[in-house]
């Protein structure tokens, strides 16, 4: 499955996209605990100090949402368009 990062979080991660092979469906929260930032902190830990939004298959979701082995997941800061 594909994980995308946008804006400030993309810059923090140093990349816009990573591939993760899931053996079984999981949750957004569990996925955040698996992904490490360059400073070694997990996304899950980082989201205690900064707001990190999540989307699964291009729909806004919370940490309890299901991630399938083929989902497109994205993490990003609160949006600032308009």
């Amino acid at each position: 499955m594909k994980v995308l990062f946008f804006a400030a979080l993309r810059e923090t991660m140093g990349q816009s996209e990573i591939e993760i092979v899931l053996e079984a469906p999981t949750t957004v929260g569990a996925l955040k605990a698996m992904i490490k930032m360059p400073n070694g902190e997990t996304l899950n830990a980082a989201s205690r100090n900064q707001s990190i939004m999540a989307a699964v298959d291009q729909e806004m979701v919370d940490d309890l949402a299901t991630v399938s082995v083929a989902s497109e997941v994205a993490f990003f800061p609160p949006v600032t368009g308009g």
Binding site: L4, F6, A7, A8, S51, A55, Q58, E59, M60, A74, F76, P77, P78, V79, T80, G81, G82
Partner: protein, 152 residues
């Protein structure tokens, strides 16, 4: 109801949007337009430019859902949403929401609701050029408050 949703680097024209709404959505009596433009300062610092990033695919879906919600709430003839991406300069247009309706009250309300939802739900991010580099614009809680007020 006519709808057009565009995400583009190019500038847009209000006169073209007005003509498009008139042609495509019948002769509505009331047309409301909102345009957001790049300011030359933010948080007391001079801003030299703005870079707009978005999430291709998801942004279009979100904007489509925002238009759906407006069409569900009000009797509208047509809606045009155009949001620019890429590098913009102070004074440049950023966004256009244009609404045609029979009654002006509906045109105003629908236009404002779509702007409020767009601010909090559409996957765009702004990065400002300031004197000592760049900074990502932070979301404002007042925008969240305004968007949430429509659900009350």
């Amino acid at each position: 109801m006519y709808r057009s949703i565009l995400i583009q680097a190019e500038d847009f024209s209000l006169d073209s949007a007005l003509a498009e709404l008139k042609t495509q959505s019948g002769l509505a009596g009331g047309l409301c337009f909102f345009t957001g433009a790049v300011r030359n300062s933010n948080l007391d610092e001079a801003v030299g430019g703005l870079y707009l990033e978005h999430y291709p695919g998801m942004t279009e879906r979100q904007l489509d859902q925002i238009v759906d919600e407006a069409a569900r709430r009000w009797q509208l003839h047509g809606v045009i949403v155009i949001h620019r991406i890429g590098q913009l300069m102070p004074g440049d247009n950023i966004v256009l929401v244009a609404v045609a309706a029979s009654h002006r009250g509906e045109a105003f309300e629908a236009c404002e609701m779509m702007m409020d939802y767009l601010k909090t739900n559409a996957t765009f991010w702004k990065k400002e050029s300031i004197s000592d580099g760049h900074r990502w614009v932070e979301a404002r809680s007042s925008d969240q408050t305004k968007a949430t007020a429509w659900d009350a």
